[in-house]
Symmetry: C2
Subunit: 155 residues, 2 copies
């Protein structure tokens, strides 16, 4: 992994001010999770440690809604970043993508009090549509996978 | 709609104490959303009004992670309730189900400051596996649909 994660600019930070209020990842939302997603080569990555209150039914495991939330915000950012990376102007402005569908497979309990790593790769692009495949790991344990279809908002 | 929603016992309230800590719906989690799901006939229903801080990128719409969270907790409760309803002992104890997969389709922006209604119906049961189909509406507007596969925890 490169040290791009220490860069001052992550994908969500490039969202326009009027699109930066997301509870999951918006820099203009002071109450939210503030998820940060970075593009490094052909992969996107986010690291996040949920607070203890976000337990599932049994304390010690993260609740499913948090896992889906991390995938949702990560995937929309990844779609925007991959779309620009494969555009005619890879140094141009970033688009804003919204989720059309999100499919999460929960494979193993996701432990609390651990840093979680969400990663994304591009599956395909068709015009304004971008498909992203994602994983969520706790250390080496693959806890969940997801597929998203995201669509660019019209400017 | 019957007035069963005013009953003192909703599905999540029947979860055993050790399984009641979910951030989304557990009665033993004082910080969470406290989603309540009721079985009424062949349908499950939850009503929930997200706080204003749970906005998407643009204020005025609910963020996707909240929508997935509502489906996740609703679906697991619905699975438990439908499974008992179709068992040999429909008045017996409630099982506890966890999500194996959740597929959400986002059809229209979900408005904030509105009561949202999540509804579920049983698709099929095979042993410990239950498939549930769900909708999320704001008034008459269908904002999202979801399918879940939930599996009963072994006792």
């Amino acid at each position: 992994m490169s040290n791009i994660e220490h860069a001052d600019v992550w994908i969500q930070k490039e969202y326009s001010p009027e699109n930066s209020h997301c509870y999951g990842c918006g820099v203009a939302n002071p109450y939210g999770h503030g998820l940060k997603t970075y593009l490094t080569g052909a992969e996107t990555v986010s690291r996040f440690t949920p607070d203890a209150m976000y337990s599932g039914g049994v304390p010690g495991n993260v609740y499913g809604g948090m896992i889906a939330s991390l995938f949702d915000c990560h995937g929309a950012a990844a779609a925007a970043s991959f779309h620009r990376q494969h555009s005619e102007d890879p140094d141009g402005p970033l688009g804003r993508f919204v989720t059309a569908s999100l499919h999460v497979n929960f494979l193993a309990p996701t432990p609390q009090s651990r840093e979680l790593t969400v990663s994304g790769v591009l599956k395909s692009i068709e015009g304004r549509k971008v498909w992203v495949e994602m994983t969520l790991k706790a250390g080496e344990t693959l806890c969940a996978t997801a597929e998203m279809l995201a669509i660019a908002l019209r400017k």
